[in-house]
Amino acid sequence: MTEERLKDGRTAVLLNMGPSHPAMHGVIRLILELEGERVKSTEVEIGYLHRAFEKHAEAEPWNNVVPWTDRLNYVSPLINNVGYCLAVEKLLGVTVPERGQYLRVIASELSRVTDHLTCVAANAMELGAFTVFLYLIKSREVLYQLVDDLCGARVTVSYARVGGVKADLPAGFEAKCRSAFALVRESVRDADRLLTKNRIFMDRVEGTGIISREDAAAYGITGPFLRSTGTPYDVRRAHPYLVYDKLDFEVPVGSRGDNFDRYLVRLAELEASMRIVEQCFERMPDGPASVELSELVKGAVMSDLGKAGRISEIAGKHVLTCPSLEGSCDHGHAGARGGGPSVVLPAKEEVYGSIEGLMNQFEGVMWTWGLKVPAGDAYVPVEGANGELGFHVFSDGGNRPYRVRCRPPCLYIMAALPKLINGGTVADIIATFGSVNMIAGELDR
């Protein structure tokens, strides 16, 4: 326990914080240069949860990547699913039916609520307000049960699929969701009362961890962190996807870019997200949730009908085409392309009840068969809970990705972390780091 000599010849007190430290979540390491309790400089070391997600994705068929995306931001996994599927669908040229889009919005916003609840709760706990933490986690638990109803899992959800979603809403979901929101609103109000005007809490978070608008933009920071500085950039507004352009929602912004503003922005977004879900329930049309397995016509037959001018008979029908099947030699096949049977898997009733369904299922899941995506690349950003979550997918025309690049929102915030905590005290690190909402799953991938 002596002062250490740095490379540049100075001596300094170096404090190693993490990865085994209560506030570092076990997945990150800070090396602090201290002067008393003041932090003079910081070195951030990441990578403790690196799982080679991007490399792993190259080894799996397109749809099998969806479960790996669950593990990116494990506090809001539904948004990751949706983002990845949107990118693949853009490459495929497939559009999910409107109901499916609404379902994806509902799922995304539920995840955003759980994420913000977790972030605010953990931040409060790390500042010593343990009771607030449990109030918020209790309401998050109700939302997790809702997610469990929706897709059969609490964290590893894999709800979105390329071409749609796993299943439509279960019976009674809307009523459950509304009562869950009532509980969430109540506990958020409790937290608001316990924290927002609490002198101790305000002193801890006001004026700490400040970043300017320009710096935030320069670092590539997005999401609540950027909005707290006053920049109203929200992917849902700036580049609408799904049905966000049809929904009314606010994009709350702060002004000072400190921890308190980030806390307030998150609280406001909780309410905004819940209102989006409620709007979805009102506006959601009936109909299929996923791309339909429409009546299939062989490519050769379809082109014959087309030549004969009998367009009405093939309108809305899909071409049965699979380049690696025997039928690929049929004449006219090369000119016919479309959403084949393999974009989505048939319903289980079809699989067990009919030979066509069974075949479709097999074609969808067999090794080297399944979903084939045209060569090219597509980038789709979605508004993750921490900011812009982007998936850049590359295809060489095969049945598995050539490359999947994920843009994790909190990587850019972590890059700015030394700027946020240098000059503050050791105690400020906790408040600032909590408001970053660093999720190692997406940070390290």
Binding site: M1, G128, N198, R204, V426
Partner: protein, 364 residues
């Protein structure tokens, strides 16, 4: 000889009072926080299937702590490392011997005082013992060979210096009224009534002093929102390199200090053992053999109930508020509590002077 035995018995009882409160508070802490947080709380410890709302955790927790491995990391200063928990726990425990748990009762033709150590400077004794206890924290931080421990020890030292001063200042107003540092006399003074209806307790006559005392007292216990030496999510604290019962002793210290602060509050601001409207000879009808012990029981019960009330408030605060930052804590102590306490003291002195010079005495 009888006097010595009686004093020893009383000191033993006072230490038992402290230890039992600490053990009980361990359970209260878990259960009260659970109730506040919509949880069930500790309820698994059972004896022959009997659970009694988790009360057996009072026994189970020490057993667990005593049977855990007592790990001493390499590089610590062994003597200080071993001594620190004892220093930390021992001194606040001794402070409990100075409180008047009851007045004086007649029994077997003799007067029996229910105060273990009858000292004319009892309050100074209590403050000194609490101040000594902080050496354990500094020692632990210094001996641990860890920057986290060291930071905790340093935080503890400056927090204690700041709040020792504040604590004394907040008590000054009340002490000026009582005119004595003797805790028994302070209680005796508070047994009078204002206009015959309101007891002249410190909290009634010194409300500002009482509130400031509770704040400074909470800081002295090193518990949230003043748990900076510990700061579990920041630096883990001065006891980061301790395990087993040594760690348990640090935990108990906080609880014992809570009891000391609660006892101080009860003695100086809530009338000590005084029960309003209960005449001194209330139990004389029971006869000479029973009257004294009955009165003693009522006094001790009254004192204990007041201590329990203050502890409840402290516990409620602990589970509601977040933690201060270090500079804010010192600002609160030096720049807010201390000036307010001194102003309170000056006002009190002025009021007492005026009352004396006019010959007014609002209480009898």
């Amino acid at each position: 000889m009888t006097a010595l035995l009686w004093t020893l018995a009383k000191v033993g009882a006072a230490l038992g009072f402290g230890m039992n409160w600490a053990a009980f508070l361990g359970w209260v802490e878990r259960k009260q926080s659970a109730v506040m947080q919509d949880r069930i709380g500790a309820n698994r410890a059972d004896i022959l299937g009997l659970r009694v709302i988790g009360l057996f955790h009072i026994i189970a927790d020490p057993i667990k702590l005593f049977t855990k491995e007592d790990f001493v990391p390499a590089g610590v200063r062994p003597a200080f490392h071993a001594m620190a928990p004892a220093v930390s726990l021992g001194f606040p425990l001794l402070a409990l011997a100075a409180f008047p748990y009851g007045g004086t009762v007649e029994f077997l033709g003799r007067s029996w005082s229910l105060q273990p150590v009858e000292s004319p400077v009892g309050l100074v004794l209590v403050l000194a013992m609490v101040a000594m206890g902080i050496h354990g924290v500094v020692m632990a931080g210094y001996a641990s060979n860890s920057y986290y421990g060291l930071l905790g020890g340093l935080r503890g030292a400056s927090q204690m210096i700041a709040y020792e001063v504040c604590l004394a200042a907040t008590l000054a107003g009340a002490l000026f009224l009582y005119g004595s540092l003797d805790l028994a006399e302070a209680v005796a003074w508070q047994t009078r009534m204002i206009a015959g209806v309101v007891p002249a307790w410190g909290a009634v006559l010194q409300p500002v002093g009482f509130v400031l005392f509770l704040v400074a007292g909470t800081a002295l216990t090193k518990r949230t929102p003043f748990d900076l030496p510990e700061g579990e999510s920041e630096i883990v604290g001065y006891h980061v390199e301790y395990s087993g019962m040594k760690f348990g002793m640090f935990m108990m210290t906080d609880l014992i200090e809570s009891v000391v602060v609660a006892c101080l509050a009860a003695t100086l601001f809530l009338g000590g053992w005084h029960v309003p409207f209960l005449p001194v000879d209330a139990f004389s009808a029971l006869g000479p053999m029973l009257a004294g012990p009955a009165m003693a029981c009522v006094m001790v019960a009254s004192f204990t109930a007041k201590v329990a009330l203050v502890l409840f408030v402290l516990m409620q605060v602990r589970w509601t508020l977040p933690r201060f930052r270090f500079d804010q804590l010192l600002d609160l102590g030096w720049k807010n509590i201390l000036p307010l306490a001194l102003a309170n003291f000056l006002l009190t002195a002025w009021a007492v002077y005026l009352a004396k010079s006019w010959g007014v005495s609002p209480w009898r």
